[in-house]
């Protein structure tokens, strides 16, 4: 394994220290693994909390800051934080307006979140949980509970964060974020394996001429393998499935994210984005807002996640609100 690390058991704490040193005016690390805004939000506004393993930087903690997350509870590499830590963060976040707790649908995250929710309820904390699960790789007929949460959490943070910042009550913040969340779909494609930075081991076994559409968040399989395709063809295969999943119609206002997972260059992501724009405009639909870059990575795995969503005028207005986090800043 070729990575710039020190002791493998210290990676997570050291990387969080590096994050806080790089953005001292935006974030701080509390209790070793909880990333919090430097200037806490007004307690009369809903606090947004999330949890997840490390190794996916900038996600999740890179989106803590004004207009997005208040607390991100970090586990270890690819490992959910334990329920006790999550409970600790929910207590920190506890405020008069209540807490929205955004959880990606992965076994470990959900186990931890559920236990922490139990503890929080027993403590009388006003917290609502929102599960993201927009990976359609298992098929459209799949129970929504069986879908994984991929990069779709990031725009959900954005919209929930903006609604909370606007002072909306918890039920409203939840309604808006969940409405947007329900109309999301993501597919991931990988071309090369990720290396687990602690074990040094490759995850997966993609051959030299193969790619896999439907890849998971850590290089765990789950999709269709095929020979490597050109950028345009890859984009079309994925886009068509996403359009079907969220039932794209003429005049829809669409969100498009092209999220690089590691070694794939921004150069390539622009080619993919271009193909999506051209193909959607052929279908009479239009991209209202988009983002291209690395938001949620899988170590150095070459590939990307394509995520589409539908805006209504409400969610679009919250997308457009300013935010100021380490890796999403918007005027």
């Amino acid at each position: 394994m070729k990575k710039f690390i020190n002791l493998s058991e210290n990676i997570t704490t050291e990387l969080l220290q590096g994050l806080a040193m790089t953005f001292p005016e935006k974030v701080q690390v509390l209790s070793e693994k909880i990333v919090a805004r430097k200037t806490p939000k007004d307690p009369n506004k809903v606090a947004i909390v999330t949890l997840g393993g490390a190794g996916h930087e900038p996600a999740l903690s890179g989106f803590v800051g004004e207009g997005m997350l208040d607390y991100s509870v970090v586990g270890d590499i690819f490992a959910a934080p334990g329920a006790p830590k999550v409970f600790e963060a929910l207590k920190m976040a506890n405020c008069s307006a209540g807490v929205l707790f955004i959880v990606l649908n992965h076994e470990g995250d959900v186990l931890s979140a559920n236990m922490a929710m139990e503890m929080a309820k027993r403590e009388g904390i006003n917290v609502k949980m929102l599960l993201t699960h927009e990976d359609i790789s298992a098929g459209l007929d799949q129970d929504i509970k069986d879908r994984r949460g991929l990069v779709g959490c990031v725009p959900v943070y954005k919209i929930a964060g903006a609604a909370a910042e606007a002072g909306l009550p918890l039920d409203e913040v939840f309604r808006i974020a969940e409405g947007f969340n329900k109309n999301l779909a993501t597919l991931a494609v990988a071309m090369s394996n990720a290396t687990h930075p602690q074990s040094g081991m490759a995850i997966g076994d993609l051959a030299d001429d193969e790619m896999e559409i439907g890849m998971g968040q850590h290089g765990e399989g789950g999709g269709g393998r095929m020979k490597v395709q050109p950028a345009d063809d890859t984009a079309y295969i994925m886009l068509d499935q996403l359009c079907e999943a969220i039932n794209v119609q003429t005049n829809d206002e669409l969100m498009l994210l092209i999220n690089g997972t590691g070694a794939t260059t921004l150069m390539e992501l622009f080619l993919v984005a271009r193909a999506c724009h051209l193909s959607l405009s052929d279908k009479g639909a239009a991209v209202a807002r988009s983002k291209v870059g690395e938001m949620l990575t899988v170590q150095e795995m070459a590939g990307f996640q394509m995520c589409m969503g539908k805006f209504d005028s409400e969610s679009l207005s919250y997308w457009d609100k300013p935010c100021d986090t380490p890796y999403w800043t918007q005027l």
């Binding site: 997570t12 006790p84 076994e107 790789s137 081991m201 789950g222």
Partner: protein, 210 residues
């Protein structure tokens, strides 16, 4: 032997911890096939918790296991850490005394299993650690009912755990990170079940030698 005291119970888990720590690369490798390649790393953290918590038996056994479960959960051990934490808290909650007879011992393990199942959401056949753990604990119960010794209990339990572990090879995963691989995961062993099988193997060896 027909009873097990607190210190021997600790000894069983410490023995399991020692064996599992030798299998970290193997467990990571199994998880690399169908998951995210870190089950060995998870178990390493779980074992470090066990090692530092169970070296003495000064606290009451129930309290000690409850603390250990909580500590394991605090180690950021992904799915497996959370579930094993629950398992230990459950044993702690279900253990009747500092020294227990065979039926009480089986009941304590059943209590651990129930707690784990309650959080897990998995069913037998879902290709998870439960597929090793459930038959193992059923074997403990059955043996205890039949008046077997503690040695005999674990002798049967390890067989059941290992069979359950081997059986995961043919299963289509329905929980955990392997789920999305569907049919393609057939032919691979479940890493969590491997840990459980190693754990019962060590229990058995420890008890046989004790």
């Amino acid at each position: 032997m027909n009873t097990l005291n607190h210190s021997k119970l600790n000894g069983m888990f410490l023995a399991a911890s020692a064996s599992i720590q030798q299998q970290v690369p193997y467990l990571n490798e199994l998880d690399g096939k169908t998951g995210d390649g870190d089950h060995g790393t998870t178990m390493h953290r779980v074992c470090q918790s066990i090692d530092s918590s169970l070296t003495n038996s000064e606290r009451p056994v129930g309290q000690q296991l409850d603390d250990l479960g909580w500590d394991i959960m605090s180690q950021d051990g992904g799915s497996a850490g959370m579930l094993i934490g629950k398992f230990l808290m459950g044993i702690g909650a279900g253990i009747a005394a500092e020294e227990v007879n065979t039926e009480q011992l089986a009941a304590a393990f059943r209590s651990g299993l129930d707690q784990m199942v309650a959080s897990s959401g998995a069913k037998p056949g879902d290709k998870t650690m439960l597929d090793a753990l459930i038959p193992a604990i059923e074997a403990l119960e059955q043996q205890a009912r039949q008046g077997a010794s503690i040695e005999q209990m674990f002798e049967q339990a390890v067989k059941a755990a290992d069979e359950g572990f081997q059986a995961t090879k043919a299963m289509v995963p329905a929980r955990g990170r392997a789920k999305n691989m569907g049919e393609r995961a057939v032919g691979y062993l479940d890493p969590g079940a491997a840990s459980m099988s190693i754990m019962f193997e060590s229990f058995n060896q420890y008890i046989a030698a004790a």
